[in-house]
């Protein structure tokens, strides 16, 4: 199928992109990597009058340290999550998640900002912004603001982004020496969206967990932090008993929707299995 006709505008600056969106009466879409938007246009799930290409906006590029954060430009491609040394060092959870995102050629074009903006509940990166306590920088007609990942994902494919607003960068707190992370997902085939996936970041004193953030994807309408499971672990050592308690807590944290191929009970079971494995690995990382 072919997309419905649209006009195309290549923006050179953030202001140009925002202005074009407003002047098209918000009947417009920003296009970054296009790896989700182009199929949606081809299937005519979306049919905007105007496509605004943001990939030539220099301000949206680049990865750099800024205070206690790593500032990752919205246009950072999935493949750069694998190749960029600053990400491997200061945001290793994103580096670990990247090979699970789609296939190599899609990673060559898909962008971090596009993935977070789309907020697909089955996607790796949006969920990892939650585990990382990241902040999303947003530019809009009324200026720029930063929203915590905890407040960004609202409902299915719905975020704190208002129509015509642009994600400019994502700020990730720098990974520290007393932190540990783990990531994995269960999928039918490599490159497929996960049946269940999970990533976590813990701050430890010796064997004791001082703080932990655990985020699941493919378990509901949004990426989901499991606060009940987190609470069972904070202040404790990671032993078999604690891991079992965290696994049991998932029942209260997750309410997987009914779907044709994976019944809720199976998804919850897989989530428990995955959580157990990842906490085990976190413990070995001592």
């Amino acid at each position: 199928m072919k997309a419905r006709a649209f006009s195309y505008f290549r923006a050179a600056t953030i202001d140009q992109a925002l202005d074009a969106h407003a002047r098209a009466g918000d009947d417009a879409r920003f296009i970054a990597g296009g790896q989700s938007l182009v199929p949606a246009l081809s299937l005519r799930l979306q049919a905007p009058r105007l496509l605004i290409d943001i990939t030539h906006i220099e301000e949206l590029r680049g990865v750099r340290r800024e205070g206690g954060y790593l500032r990752i430009g919205a246009l950072t491609r999935h493949c750069e999550m694998l190749s960029e040394p600053l990400i491997a060092e200061f945001a290793p959870l994103l580096h670990a998640a990247a090979p699970f995102v789609a296939h190599p050629a899609i990673r060559n074009r898909g962008t971090f900002g596009g993935s977070v903006a789309l907020a697909d509940p089955a996607s790796e990166f949006p969920a990892m912004t939650l585990a990382l306590d990241a902040e999303i920088e947003i530019a809009g007609p009324s200026g720029s603001r930063r929203v915590k990942a905890d407040d960004f994902f609202v409902e299915l494919f719905e975020t704190a982004l208002q129509p015509g607003e642009l994600i400019t960068a994502i700020y990730v707190p720098l990974f520290k020496a007393d932190q540990r992370f783990a990531f994995d997902e269960l999928a039918r085939r490599r490159g497929d969206y996960a049946l269940v996936g999970c990533g976590m970041l813990a701050t430890c004193t010796g064997e004791r967990i001082d703080d932990i953030r655990i985020s699941f994807f493919s378990v509901g309408n949004t990426p989901t932090r499991v606060k009940g499971a987190e609470a069972t672990l904070i202040g404790s050592r990671l032993d078999a008993e604690r891991i079992a308690a965290a696994q049991a807590a998932l029942e209260g944290d997750l309410a997987p929707p009914d779907s044709d191929d994976v019944p809720p009970a199976m998804r919850l079971h897989l989530a428990r299995v995955l959580l157990g494995r990842l906490l085990g690995r976190l413990g070995e990382g001592a």
Partner: protein, 174 residues
Amino acid sequence: MSGFDETLLDDADETVRVRFVVNGRKVACEVAPRETLVDCLRNALELTGTHAGCEMGACGACLVQLDGRAVHSCLMFAVQADGAKINTIEGLTESGVIADLQAEFHHRNALQCGFCTPGMLVNAHELLSQIARPSRDEIRDALSGNYCRCTGYEAIVDAIDAVAKARKESGGGT
């Protein structure tokens, strides 16, 4: 401040001029904004080696090299590629950089109908330029977005594995 001209909104059906370097040659085409790169390559430029299968990023038959990286030409509009350097399977063939891969695919029956082959080759070429000696698992992983309905993949993995080994032994990279 703005480079945006509102009259553009009424021009959705009008073609725009795009220029790219395709297989080392400068070309210009008139395209409608909604025309995908794969359609432009196949129809306007008559480079039919790039195949259009699913047209939604799932099968990998449409892979080309854009500014040195493998990308799906069905997941891009031609206007987005304005100013880019593109190599299609025709260009890669002409330059000889994948001659050994092609010979090995032929030798090992790594193609039957051949529909998937251009995409497989573009993908394999990129893989071997990044990892000189990938494991079989790494090869399969890299091919996870390329469908082949004929061969069962084993011969394709064999061919790529054999070329990686041969290149390593002859001391060359790509």
